[in-house]
Amino acid sequence: MTDDRLDLPQGTLDLLILKALSLEPQHGWAISERIRQVSRATLQIPQGSLYPALHRLERRGWIKAEWGASDNNRRAKYYELTRAGRKQLDAETDAWQRLTTAVSLVLDMG
């Protein structure tokens, strides 16, 4: 276990999931793997929150789920962004970027 992992700030999990799904539909495990890899293992999604988050997003209509066969013929539940989800991703990305820019500005103040 390394110590350079970061705890996810509140509310960012949804954003990461939406982003992970923006390229192609994925199943739950793949989503967490993808986030881990892309963030160079800095972001570890607590598995305990992944599925509740997925179901929450599905309930809101931002993603939809479908059962399908995966690469090695396992059955898996694939999640896919909906139109509403794409819009939500854009809006949240935008908000996130403005927030981080603003925070950096403050931190760079000298």
Binding site: H27, G28, W29, A30, E33, P46, Q47, G48, S49, Y51, P52, A53, H55, R56, E58, R59, R60, G61, W67, N72, R74, R75, A76, K77, A84
Partner: protein, 902 residues
């Protein structure tokens, strides 16, 4: 936004409706995730077993995550509730004794309170049905100064006064007058005494009611002098007597003396302002009044109507009262023009009061109203006791389930989830108990109401919205009160300790909470029982009051002539026939004609006595006239002199027997025998006093003896004219109830035309005056016994439980040489200690709170030591009994079995 809403709805619906599918998918999803993780770890070189282990650790508690995911479904609440209800029902079925005890306890609490709520609601809160904007409507009372300096209230007005108030007020938009009377309704065999509403045409304008058939009567039918004899039937009477026939319009119905033409039918439940008693019909005031007194609208002598008013918009109650007061003074002055004897308004200061419509909230509410409030409070105490009891039972059960709870928390149940589940269980219990209670209230409620408010009409409990809503709220409150504490305790169970410890180690601890609850219960039952004792003693005292007549052996016979007109000779002959006829009935020992009836009707005349300016100022003098056997029949004793006899006839010197109180106030210490008073004016012949009768009660059962004078009926008829009524007192050998029907059927054939006879035991007329003590005694006693039973159940349950918990300890004690008696003493001592504590607290509460009911009691102090003593010893006795049974079990503990258990 809308899309989100739809998605949400679809999702939730699927989650609820296709719960199994959703569950299976979740399982599959979790499994597939784990497989991926395992595959990845295997690729990294781990063995399958190790990979599986690490994957699981990384994933965390599967069930917990599934729980969280379900929460994210947004359905988990509903689902949990369904699951919890199932679980609760299962658990309750498994412990039938516990379940039954809780349900019975709750049913008692909720049932009693629901029934009482129905009564309180209708007595104090609920406005009459169909009444428009009840907040602007008032009943009018008048307060004035009596000659003895006291203020008194009245709400009966002459028609003329009502007309004056209508004319001279400035603040009212509507006025109506009404009276509800029991009258003979129908013809021949179908004749029954039933309640009829006598109302002004304006009365209907107060209500948002439309006739279901025909129409209401209007001003042209309710006009001076005699209106028109039309009637509007009540819906219930139309259904029962006419089976809802539409051709009833235009038919006639005999009410009292006259025939009324039916012109309409009121909507269901329309009662007007009759305070809960259903009427069969409504007739115009003017049409009815003209049959009684042709000059009713010109004079002020006949006060019989109540007045209902609606204030103009923006007019306050005080402003309306002030306005009515000035209108009433104008009316008073107009009355003085006609009746010179009337005191000036500046002397009596009449003040009109616009009061709430509900009689119980008006200034003339009787003691029975206060008793109803007290009983309401008592009912609430019963609820508290049952809550305490249930809480205790639940605590005991929770203790028994500590390990179950600990295990469930250990495998991932959250504390909130456990509390939720326990609360569900309590709610299920409360709902079952309430349902039983509602049924009980529906069944027993009728009796309760008759006891308290003397209303015969059925009030629905189970179908009445307000009552049901109340019961619902009550159920929730009860569940919260009784269940929250035990649930919190159980939910917060200390995991390690509970899992390690069997019931053997440290499981038995004196629970402070449970002891407190027990103390509370027994203290409250002490308070209730003391209340019961005080009312029972009051009732005894009231019953023991000398009334001056033999209440238990008298029957009252009343005739209704219904327009049959008899000349004086015929009337006299009929009276004689009735007396003779009554005497001939086996079981009847005597009979007399009477002119007035104590607690029912009275007659007074102006008296003139030499040396006294105004006899009237001394108080109210009441007249009674009777046959020669009057005193032998009523049992009123003659203290001095002689009663009148058959020889005191028309033509012989006028004689009278007077009550002791009357003799004392008129002639002080002088010998009253032979004294003279004149009835009417100074010029009427002298009536000589021939005897002094013991004092009798006629208006106020706890009051002083009345100023009564008794005249021989023959002389009364000769000097004062025809009696106002033809009525008899009949003395019977046994209970008057047994002879009521015989007497009626024997006397009825003697009556001419459609005239008829009604008979009733005389005590039925007097009983209502003892109502407040009777209902107080019965209710406090019923509730007190209920409370005692609950406290006993509680004590028994807790002690039994304690004994069961301490089996090992008791076993050790026996093994170490304790004898059965010692254990008995140990366990019973515990029960008695709690009971003694309860008695002490309860006595203190009663001692200080008792002042509040002092006014409702009679002849007994609210701190009556006898009552306190009896209650205390009863409670201690019950305490010993309730703990003796489990104690005897403790004494029989076999150390061998006890020490090996668990």
């Amino acid at each position: 936004m809308l899309g989100e809403f739809w998605s949400e709805l679809r999702y939730r619906a699927r989650a609820i409706l296709r719960r199994n599918d959703v569950e299976r998918e979740l399982d599959d999803e979790v499994r597939s995730h784990l497989e991926y993780e395992v595959a990845k770890l295997e690729r990294g070189g781990l063995s399958r077993g190790e990979a599986l282990r690490q994957a699981r650790i990384a994933f965390g508690g599967v069930d917990r995550i599934k729980d969280d995911t379900r929460d994210a479904h947004g359905v988990s609440l509903v689902e949990h509730v369904i699951q919890d209800v199932r679980y609760a029902l299962h658990g309750l079925r498994a412990r039938p004794m516990f379940t039954a005890a809780v349900i019975v306890t709750l049913a008692a609490g909720v049932g009693v309170n629901t029934a009482m709520f129905g009564i309180l609601d209708r007595t104090f809160l609920r406005p009459p049905r169909y009444l428009i904007d009840p907040g602007t409507v008032n009943r009018v009372y008048v307060e004035w100064q009596r000659t003895d300096g006291k203020r008194a209230f009245d709400r009966s007005y002459a028609y003329t006064t009502y007309a004056d108030l209508s004319r001279w007020n400035r603040s009212l938009s509507h006025l109506a007058a009404f009276a509800f009377r029991t009258m003979a309704v129908g013809d021949g065999e179908e004749t029954k005494p039933l309640q009829v509403g006598i109302v002004s045409a304006s009365f209907f304008d107060f209500f948002d009611a439309r006739p279901v058939l025909g129409r209401f009567f209007g001003p042209q039918e309710d006009s001076i002098p005699a209106g028109r004899a039309v009637a509007v039937l009540s819906y219930g009477f139309w259904q029962s007597r006419y089976t809802g026939r539409h051709d009833v319009l235009g038919t006639t119905l005999r009410i009292g003396k006259s025939l009324y033409t039916v012109i309409g039918v009121a909507p269901p439940g329309f009662e007007g302002t009759s305070d809960g008693r259903a009427s069969v019909a409504f007739v115009p005031i003017t049409a009815f009044a003209a049959t009684i007194d042709r000059n009713y609208y010109k004079n002020y002598g006949w006060g019989w109507l109540e007045v209902l008013v609606r204030r103009k918009p923006g007019v306050t109650v005080d402003a309306a009262s002030a306005d009515l007061t000035s209108a009433n003074i104008l009316s008073w002055n107009a009355e003085r023009v006609l009746e010179s004897g009337l005191a000036a308004a500046s002397v009596v200061h009449p003040i009109a009061v616009a009061a709430p419509i509900q009689l119980a909230r008006g200034p003339m509410a009787g003691p029975e109203t206060k008793v109803v409030v007290w009983i309401g409070a008592v009912a609430f105490v019963v609820l508290l006791i049952s809550c305490a009891n249930v809480a205790n039972l639940l605590l005991a059960r929770a203790l028994r389930r500590r390990r179950e709870m600990a295990v469930r928390r250990a495998i991932g149940g959250t504390r909130g989830r456990l509390v939720q589940q326990l609360m569900t269980e309590t709610l299920v219990l409360a709902a079952l108990g309430s349902f039983a209670g509602l049924l009980g209230a529906q069944l027993a409620g009728g009796g309760l109401r008759r006891l308290l408010v003397d209303v015969n009409d059925a009030w629905p409990v189970v179908t009445d919205g307000r009552t049901l809503a109340f019961a619902g709220i009550l159920t929730l409150v009860t569940a919260l009160l009784a269940g929250l504490l035990p649930a919190m305790q159980a939910g917060g169970v200390d995991l390690a300790a509970s899992l390690k410890a069997g019931t053997r180690e440290g499981a038995y601890r004196q629970s402070r909470v449970r002891t407190t609850l027990l103390l509370l219960q027994s203290a409250l039952s002490v308070v209730l029982l003391i209340g019961a004792g005080l009312f029972v003693r009051s009732l005894q005292q009231v019953r023991a009051l000398p009334l001056g007549y033999d209440l238990d052996h008298l029957m009252y016979v009343e005739t209704s002539m219904r327009g049959a007109t008899l000349n004086p000779a015929e009337a006299g002959a009929l009276a004689d026939r009735l007396v003779t006829g009554a005497r001939a009935i086996p079981g009847v020992t005597n009979a007399t004609l009477i002119e007035s009836v104590p607690f029912y009707s009275s007659e007074g005349r102006n008296l003139r006595v030499a040396g006294i300016d105004s006899v009237r100022k001394l108080g109210r003098f009441q007249l009674q006239a009777g046959s020669p056997d009057y005193f032998a029949t009523t049992g009123t004793r003659i203290l001095r002199g002689r009663p009148f006899t058959a020889d005191d006839r028309a033509g012989t010197p006028l004689v009278a027997v007077v009550s002791d109180a009357m003799a004392k106030i008129l002639w002080k210490d002088e010998n009253p025998i032979g004294k003279c008073f004149r009835i009417g004016t100074d010029t009427t012949p002298c009536t000589s006093v021939i005897g002094i009768a013991e004092n009798t009660k006629a208006r106020n059962i706890t009051g002083e003896g009345e100023f009564m004078y008794y005249l021989p009926m023959a002389q009364y008829v000769a000097t004062l004219g025809q009696p106002s009524m033809l009525a008899l007192f009949v003395r019977v050998h046994g209970r008057p109830e047994d002879l009521v029907e015989t007497t009626r059927s024997r006397l009825q054939p003697l009556m001419p035309g459609s005239a008829f006879v009604t008979t009733q035991p005389f005590h039925q007329i007097v009983d209502p005056t003892m109502q407040s003590w009777t209902s107080g005694a019965r209710m406090f006693l019923a509730f007190g016994v209920m409370a005692l039973a609950l406290a006993a159940i509680g004590l028994y349950a807790v002690i039994s439980f304690a004994v069961a918990q301490r089996t090992q300890e008791l076993g050790v004690r026996i093994a170490l040489g304790a004898r059965g008696v010692d254990l008995l003493r140990l366990v019973v001592g515990e029960g008695v200690r709690v009971t003694l504590g309860g008695v002490a607290i309860g006595t203190l509460i009663a001692f200080f709170a008792g002042k509040g009911i002092d006014k409702l009691l009679f002849g007994v102090s609210s701190r009556d030591p006898l009552v306190y003593g009896i209650v205390a010893s009863t409670l201690i006795g019950v305490g010993i009994l309730a703990s003796a049974i489990p104690a005897s079990r403790a004494a029989r503990v076999d150390p061998n079995v006890a020490l090996r258990a668990e």
